[in-house]
């Protein structure tokens, strides 16, 4: 029993899960049961996959020891470039692939510049945050093109079936999350990612091509952000140049709440998802509790801090439990 509790609490993402349940319970009561109502859950499940995909990308990148502040801008750039390409008569599939390719190139540039000149990725991607946002505006000429109405939204954002709880985007999200989790924990590449972030010099000295590993993670992160942007635009039906602003800090917050270490080496995909869920729940729960506009951010701030403090506290408790774990 004690041993199970310990093993459980030891994993920050599971501690996060416990916290999530507590929050759900509190808000469920505060919102008179609306929080977990079918309609509300259905609403939350619209935005969740998009945010979670970004958080997953950022988490993987953070595990390998780097940062990406440009995700919010890439989130806007990908659907915008797709829309522009579509409007010039290219078929949908090709346009999506081109859009994702652009994201991959941006990720590559982020990684290449960071590693080639050994500058902090904080700066490279801060620069890219501006550059990609600017490009989004430039290619749209300021006015977002309207999307054709015959896009295959059934594949991306429609409800799985009439009246279903989930949209197709949820299916994509689950699929990608499972793949990403498998990549991180079952494959040798995942091992390299962790090693690179855990101790870069050691990983390099054991023969891991750390630069290439990092560049791949940068690209993965950008592509996931772009894909998430695509989902959002298809769901809402319009590629505004301003979407995704401020997403970078939120994604990092989700990752950290889910137990990812800012210094790298530690983190899980599941944690990123829990982190996103927590953030979305807090946001949603506060709206349902009719918090005044001026106090809204206050509550967000306090609850975010609280989530991480509670997580850290559970970890500390677990370390105090005296069981010889391995014998």
């Amino acid at each position: 029993m004690k041993r199970f509790l310990k093993i459980y609490l030891d994993k920050p993402e599971l501690a996060g899960l416990a916290l999530l349940i507590v929050l759900l319970a509190v808000f469920q009561v505060k919102s008179n049961g609306v929080l977990l109502s079918f309609e509300n859950v259905r609403g939350v499940m619209g935005l969740l996959p998009e945010m979670a995909l970004v958080a997953i990308g950022v988490t993987i990148l953070m595990i390998c020891g780097e940062f990406d502040l440009s995700v919010g801008s890439v989130f806007a750039l990908m659907p915008m470039s797709m829309a522009v390409i579509l409007n010039s008569g290219v078929p949908f599939t090709a346009a999506v692939l081109l859009g994702l390719a652009i994201c991959a190139v941006i990720g590559f540039i982020n990684g290449y510049v960071t590693l080639q000149f050994s500058i902090p990725s904080f700066i490279t991607t801060l620069g890219m945050l501006f550059i990609a946002r600017s490009l989004t505006i430039v290619i749209s000429g300021g006015f977002p093109p309207l999307l054709p109405s015959d896009l295959p939204t059934w594949l991306f954002t429609d409800y799985i079936w009439q009246g279903a709880l989930f949209r197709m985007s949820f299916v994509w999200f689950v699929g990608i999350a499972v793949l990403a989790a498998a990549l991180l924990s079952l494959t040798n590449f995942g091992n390299w990612i962790r090693a690179t972030g855990g101790f870069n010099e050691a990983a390099a000295s054991m023969g891991i091509p750390v630069k290439r590993v990092k560049i791949v993670c940068f690209m993965l992160c950008s592509v996931l952000a772009g894909f998430a942007g695509l989902l959002q635009v298809l769901r809402l039906g319009s590629p505004l140049p301003s979407i995704g602003e401020g997403l970078e800090l939120q994604a990092v917050a989700a990752a950290v709440i889910g137990g990812t270490a800012l210094a790298g080496g530690i983190g899980t995909v599941f944690g990123a998802i829990i982190g996103t869920l927590l953030i979305r729940t807090i946001d949603n729960g506060l709206v349902l509790s009719r918090v005044d506009a001026n106090w809204f951010k206050f509550a967000i701030g306090v609850l975010t801090m609280f989530a991480v403090i509670a997580n850290a506290w559970m970890g500390k408790m677990s370390r105090k439990i005296k069981v010889e774990a391995h014998k």
Partner: protein
């Protein structure tokens, strides 16, 4: 030797509204052969950046400066400096709320935030059900930012008056932080509507209620059950107006806000005519106007 003009806004480039202003501005400048520059901020709504840009613009001695005066005091000294050194300064889009008294600028081209908010609420109130309780929701998209607070203030002002007038009816007004992101706004207002399905109307201080309309559609709620209204004619909103989800939208004719001041400056320079205030429209747009506007809006003319 053409005119040299700088236009200082408090907004950032990703704001579609300002892209329309830019288009009008650029078009007008092309027509009169002026050399023009629009200077936006990096952070949406940043007054300090706008003032710094204003100062830099003055240093390069243009003939005319257009500026959105989103604060009553912050711009005063700098504008005075500009006027003193012979630059024509016009307030565009937003004016000092004390008008000409509060500021040395020569004229104002645009429409005030508070007034616009007031007229939005007034126009929407026509659509309120004639009896029964009213549940009104005001979304402050960016608490603390002048444009959002003042528009919301205008809306609130009318709603409070309305409430006082209809003392017999049960009227509740709620203000929430509705975020400046299509998805977040949709998410938050969508959640609120879940918890409060009897909500009568939602007022946005921007165009982000387009996302809310989408949510209503997804939920199969028929148009008009929840009244939606907000500011600025972006294509997304027009689409939703066509579909009937958005009943009222305030248009301040951004193209005109970009275009007219250039003309005024041109006349001032070439003919010595004194610039005068231009009200760019009470601009209440309702669904019946949409077909004519839609084409224009796509080109950024509305």
């Amino acid at each position: 030797e053409g005119l040299n003009i700088a236009f200082i806004s408090h907004s950032s480039a990703s704001n579609t509204f300002w892209q329309s202003v830019k288009k009008g501005y650029d078009d007008a400048c092309g027509k009169v052969g002026a050399s023009c520059q629009l200077i936006l901020t990096q952070t949406e709504g940043s007054v300090e950046q706008a003032v710094a840009n204003l100062q830099a613009a003055i240093a390069s001695r243009p003939d005319a400066i257009f500026v959105a005066i989103v604060d009553n005091n912050a711009y005063d000294n700098v504008i005075k400096e500009a006027v003193d050194s012979g630059i024509l300064v016009l307030a565009v889009n937003v004016d000092d709320s004390e008008g000409a008294k509060g500021n040395a600028r020569k004229a104002f081209i645009g429409q005030g935030f508070t007034a616009a908010g007031y007229s939005l609420a007034k126009a929407q109130s026509e659509n309120f059900p004639k009896e029964g309780p009213l549940n009104l929701l005001v979304g402050v998209n960016a608490p603390g930012q002048t444009w959002s607070e003042q528009r919301a203030g205008g809306v609130m002002k009318f709603l409070e008056e309305y409430k006082a007038e209809h003392a017999d009816r049960e009227i509740t007004i709620t203000r929430i932080d509705s975020a400046t992101d299509l998805a977040l706004t949709a998410d938050r207002i969508g959640a609120y509507l879940n918890a409060n399905p009897e909500t009568t109307a939602y007022f946005d201080t921007g165009y982000w209620h387009a996302g809310v309309a989408k949510v209503l559609k997804d939920r199969g709620i028929e148009p008009g059950k929840v009244l939606l209204g907000g500011f600025d004619l972006v294509p997304e909103v027009l689409q939703q107006m066509e579909a009937g989800y958005v009943q009222v939208q305030v248009d301040q004719q951004p193209y005109m806000q970009g275009f007219m001041p250039v003309m005024q400056a041109y006349l001032w320079k070439t003919a010595g005519l004194t610039p005068s205030d231009i009200d760019t429209g009470q601009g209440i747009v309702t669904p019946k106007d949409v077909p004519t506007i839609l084409e224009m809006a796509k080109q950024g003319l509305r």
